[in-house]
Symmetry: C2
Subunit: 222 residues, 2 copies
C-alpha cells in the first residue's frame, strides 16, 4: 500500500493535468484543448468539428470554459452531443482541477474526442496544462498579422494553429506567411492550418489532422 | 514630519493608482486607459487619436503595454509624440506600479493627454486601476455581438466603449443594438461610440468625447 504523503505538495496544476491525461488514456479518449482570443471563432470551429466528426461515426463531446453565461454550451448542445459548461466566475483561464471535476458530467468510455474550449484569452491559459493531448490555438485574420510576435508563448506552446476567417483576407492587409514563418521559428513541430468557418475552407484539413492525431495516440497507447 | 509607517501595507495596486491620479491632477494631465482584446484596434485608434489631437494643438503622449516587442510603440512614435513601451515579459495586464515607474520617461507638465494602452486582453486588466481618469474599451465587430454577456465585468467597469471596425458590419451577422443595450444595462453611465479606424467614421465623436471629458476634469480640478 502506498501512502500518498506528497499528495498535497504534488497536486499542482501540472500534476493534475497529468492525472487527467492518464484518465483520458485509460478511456482511449483523445482530448483537444482550444485556445484563442475572444471572437477568434473557437465555438464556431467546434460547431463545424462536431458536425463533421458525427458524420464519420466518431463520438465527440465538448467542455466549454467561460467567465459567465452558458451561451457557448447552448450553441454546442444543438448538435446533440454531450456538452458541459464550466463557468469560471471571472477567472481568466481554466485549470486542470476544474476540468477534472467537470469530467464527472461525461461518460468518458462512450466518447472518442473531447474538446476543451478555454476562456477567450490569448495570454493566461497558455501556462496551464489541462491534460489535453494536443492544444490548438484559433487565431483570426481580423486580429492582425503581428500577433505571433506579440504573444510568442501562446504560439510556442501550441501543437496546431488554425488561422481562421481567411475569407477576410481580401478586406485588409494581412501577410499570411509572416505569422506562419514566425510561429514555425518558435516551434518547428507546429501544424499550421488556414481556415474559414464561414466558407468551410480548411475544415477538412482540420478534421483530418484530428483523426490522424487521434489514431497516433491510440496506436501509441495500444 | 510624517513617518510613512503604513506605506508597505497600503501600497496595493489601488493605492498606487490613486497616487498616479494625484500626480496626473497636479500636472493637469488627462489620462485615458485603453483596454481590449488582441486585434480589436487599440493601437490603430491611438494612431488616429494622436494625429487628430496634434492638429488641435493638444499635446498627446502614449504609454504602451505589451507582453513582448516594442512594435506598437514604434507605430506610435511615427507621430512624433512622447511614447514609452512597457513590456510585461508575459504578464497579462498592467499594474499601477509599472505605470508609475514608466511615468519617469515623460515630462508630464508638457502634456495634455496621456493614453495608457493595456496588454491585449479583455479579462485580466479589468480589475487593475492604473490611475486613469477614464477607461475606454475597444471592442470590434469581428469579435461577435455576444461579448458583453460573456465579459460583463470589463464592460461594467468601462467609461466608454468604442465599437470598432463597423465597416465589417455588412460582412457578418452582428446586431449593434444588442451589446449596446446589454452594456448600458450593466452601466447606465457608459458612453457608446461606433467607429471604424479604416474609414474614419466615428473618430470625430471619439475626439470630441476626449476633449469634453478632459475639459470637465480641468474644470473640476481648477
Amino acid at each position: 500500500m502506498q501512502i500518498p504523503i506528497y499528495e498535497n505538495i504534488l497536486k499542482s496544476n501540472d500534476y493534475l493535468a497529468e492525472e487527467n491525461q492518464h484518465l483520458f488514456n485509460r478511456q482511449r479518449l483523445f482530448v483537444v484543448g482550444i485556445l484563442g482570443s475572444p471572437g477568434a471563432g473557437k465555438t464556431t470551429l467546434l460547431e463545424k468539428s462536431v458536425a463533421a466528426l458525427k458524420q464519420m461515426n466518431l463520438r465527440p463531446a465538448v467542455l466549454v470554459g467561460d467567465l459567465a453565461t452558458s451561451r457557448d454550451a447552448e450553441r454546442i448542445q444543438q448538435y446533440d452531443i454531450p456538452c458541459a459548461q464550466l463557468t469560471t466566475g471571472g477567472a481568466c483561464h481554466l485549470e486542470a482541477q476544474q476540468v477534472n471535476k467537470a469530467l464527472k458530467d461525461f461518460d468518458l468510455g462512450q466518447l472518442d474526442i473531447l474538446f476543451i474550449e478555454n476562456v477567450g484569452n490569448l495570454v493566461c491559459p497558455t501556462g496551464f496544462k489541462l491534460g489535453e493531448h494536443i492544444r490548438a490555438v484559433v487565431f483570426s485574420v481580423p486580429e492582425g498579422d503581428e500577433k505571433v510576435e506579440k504573444y510568442p508563448a501562446t504560439f510556442k506552446k501550441a501543437d496546431c494553429i488554425i488561422l481562421n476567417k481567411i475569407d477576410y483576407l481580401n478586406l485588409q492587409e494581412f501577410d499570411v506567411e509572416k505569422p506562419k514563418r514566425e510561429a514555425l521559428a518558435l516551434n518547428p513541430n507546429l501544424v499550421w492550418l488556414n481556415c474559414s468557418c464561414s466558407t468551410g475552407e480548411g475544415i477538412d484539413e482540420w478534421i483530418n489532422y484530428l483523426k490522424t492525431s487521434r489514431q497516433n495516440l491510440l496506436n501509441a497507447n495500444s
